[in-house]
Amino acid sequence: MNQSVLEPNGAEAERIADLALMLFGGAAIIFFGVMALAAASVWGGVSVRRAIASERMIVAAGIAFPVITLTALLFYSLWLMRANIQGNATPPAGRIEVAAEQWWWRITYVEPDGRRISEANELRLPVGREVELVLTSPDVIHSLWIPAIGGKLDMIPGRTNRMRVSIDGPGIYRGQCAEYCGGPHALMAFDVIALEATEFDAWVRGDVAGGSTETVRGRGIFEESGCGSCHAVRGANASGLVGPDLSRVGGRRTIAAGTLPTSRENLTRFIVDGQSIKPGNLMPPFGLFAAEDVDAISAYLMSLQ
């Protein structure tokens, strides 16, 4: 899995990675140049040191050289920013709303016809299609960062930020909250799954595949225990909006916003003792359930794909 700036897989991230490599190269040359000059000033011969020991050298190395380099860099950086802005002139081919909440991601796919499909904690993106992410937060400041695709953008209560993303090839990438948001900020990540466009469309519009006969009991306990007052599952008696949408939770790679791999055991652990896995998360522990009941709920959740 990749959360690296240096392995870009989207237009913006590629531009920045090129910039970064150029900066590293330039910085390395300048750094070794300055260190060589410093070494020569301490250990060099008389003639070398005499050449260094003048105000003219200070003006040349301390003013003239930086001015030329920095001017060039400024133009390059402004040109990159213009490239980004111009990219925004055309309307995006898709829109996904991402709201960061303490400490998970509420994701809503907005279809061209206006239909809204709720998901959470896993962002699926179509390859080769430019998508606009609409970034908000209802509580504190968070920041959305998927290094392989591009730079980060803060999610600030009271404001709406928009970010264009386009991804070059299918694959799985990792993103993480980059602005300290209290408590388990460290445990607020998500996976990005890039799918071919047709596959993506099919997935977004696909039905929830839950509710096989083995999991009827789990679904019953889930609905009766009031899980639905916080969580929503399409097609079940659960439409809560407080916590993450669980309609396809079994199909996600991780639970609790990138904290644990999705599995029946991990779901059980999280339901019974989520506070020790992700301290401070807003779901109270449900230790009252009998072991087989929680297991049934987990089995049911696993079936939601």
Partner: protein, 845 residues
Amino acid sequence: MTSTAERETAELPNPLPRPRDELRRLQAVWAIPEGWRILSAVNNSVIGYFYIGAAFLFFVLAGVLALLMRVQLAVPGNLFLDQESYNQIFTMHGTVMMFLFAVPAVEAMGVLLLPQMLGARDLPFPRLGAFAFWAYLVGGLVFFSTLFFDMAPSGGWFMYPPLTGSRFSPGTGADFWLLGIGFIEISAIAGAIEIIVGVLRTRAPGMSLDKMPIFAWTMLIFAVMIVFAFPAVILATMMLELERAFDWPFFIPDRGGDALLWQHLFWFFGHPEVYIIFLPAAGMVSMIVPTMAATPLVGYRLIVVALIATGFFSFGLWVHHMFTTGIPAMSLGFFSAASMAVSVPSGIQVFSWIATMAAGRLRITAASLFVLGFLFIFTLGGLTGVMVAMVPFDWQAHDTYFVVAHFHYVLVGGMVFPLFAAFYYWAPAFSRRALSERLGKIAFVLMFVGFNIAFFPMHIAGLIGMPRRVYTYPAGLGWETPNLASTIGAFMIAAGVLVFLLDLIRHLRPTVGASAGNVWNAGTLEWLENDVHAARSVPFVESRDPLWEDARLSADVHKGRYYLPGTVTGRRETIVTSAILAEPQYVVRLTGPGWAHLLAAIFTAAFFLLLTVKLVTAAIICGAVAIACVVAWAWDTDSPSAGDVDIGGGIRLPTYAVGAASHSWWAMIILMAVAGALYLSYVFSYLYLWTVRPQDWPPIAPLASHAGWIASAALLCISAAALWASGRSIRAAVPRLWLTVGLTVVGLLTLLLGLGADVASHWLAGLRPQHSGYAALVFTAGFLQAEIVAAVCIMGIFACVRILVGLTDGRRSVVFDNMVLLWGYGLGQGALGLLLTHGFPRLGM
């Protein structure tokens, strides 16, 4: 050089023998209180020592916190620290390092070194300096100890709301941060005022600005930057505390506040802060390099330019920390340009040091090694600084370990390494023995190698995706190796610091009279033979390296052959000189040891800390006691003129000055600049919120009636008239002191009523501070004005009482004049407040 100065120098050094008991009398008036009474000492050598000791204590404490974090992050999924502890620890590490170590440490170096370096006997306001120190120590210790009670703040050292608002941080941790740090910032400002006046007005005769040591230049610019930068964060902390305590919604977006307002104010302080810390450290390097290379500094003028340019440009960078908040592209480009501009002056300094090393021959001492280490680390940090100034790169690097690496390279490289160089360099001037070169070199190697092992891998960790401020991380992302390396490096640094501590224990023998002396053969005045009264006599300075220019200077100064070789008034005293040319103007008598300033510091700290835990009554009592202590301490500071005195060299100077000649007047002007900067930050906040939330402004919100501002303006006019008349009456040919007192009382009452009329008009119109961000800001104008009015009233009562008991009159008028200055400022601020809160909404924009 003017011709009079040449004539004066011709008579110095004075070859005549000195009176026998002159030195004994000088030592007697400057004597340090014995035993535990040393706590009442105010002399810069003693307070400077305490100050550095305290700052170093906080460095070690915050360093231990860093080690705890490094243990936690050594391996993925570690359970060494729990999440809440880690969050508190990283918050405290940053806060303590910035506010309780870095700024106080450089201020402490200024307090310790400046008087000796400038040829003064002491700083101009010894008790103010001591007050600032004690307030910082008491406040800092209590603040740090909150960690032991699980009451420490956990919102990060940057304290971004809404996370730090009462909804998401209901405990008292955030309050400790806001009140505790706000209070320590006030202490830093007190120190800054003292340093500015000290540098500009108490230099040795002849030391014009172009002959001033670079360290003094850096301390001057450091202090001026504090004056303009700290008020922004003081305002921000005030507003956040008002929000938390009284529900004034400055930063709550649902109620017309704005979360980014905090970031603007915080970083308007926070970015200059980096240079506030760095510049004095660079100044230390500019002192150490010439001595170790045994040659004058190359590029003195260029360095002065670089320092001033840094002072300015660093205020144009604050949005540098907000590149990912989604603000418009042009602002980003604009701040990116300023970020580049500020890197040029740093380059100038680096190449000046290199040129100086080349001009002489660098002796490889422990101090030189720390300087070379600084050059290495700081250059690398500067280059990554240019990288994060590139907006697109910063979108990736921001809030990752790359930035953690960058600013540790800049701050540890730029400040801690020079500070250790300074410890090794200046220890012989303040200790009976020099520190050990061998232990120093061992400490350097451990710290230098450890630093690079600890922090270089963080660049990589950040680039491969590791965000900052995470208490744990998963395996499998490639973060394990760099993190383990960082932890190992951190312990190497700690080992280096331990070796240094061992060196201190074995070799540091603090003294103010019998130091090891000028072991490096340095050229500046702090290497004269010093006692608690600084040098025996005050030399006439003719060059930047006086000890190199005149081989006999040290001996002549020590034999009392220059100015002021004894005490001319029987009190502690120093020569006040003009700001630019350092021409002698008058002899100021300085205060000696006392307890009032110490009690004032303790009770001021108690006031703020008791407010934090909501013990309001106890807090108010402590506040009142603190004010009483300040009054008691101020009572005997304004000594009457003792006539003209002879300071030697054929110069007779007065012993009292009023107006712009008075050093006290300068301090008051600087205090007004602080208040003005605070108010301008407020005006910025008001206008800023208007640009983001215009929908909350009148006519949606109720607007005070015309009667309100007219009444308030009329009262301010009456107050101004009374101010003018009272100033005239005290200086009248036939002074009628009762008239002066009467006019002052009327003027202060109308000033108070003017404020009351303004606030009442908003209240009667139905506006309440809890309504919206707009409403809260309207009442903030009144809150800020109330602070000034309260200060003017206390000073006014103080001045009136002194007039009535005959201690203040038209000639001995400094107390009255200072009150008048602040009064005038209050009138101006009040008028500006009326224009803003009554006039601006009526513009109909």
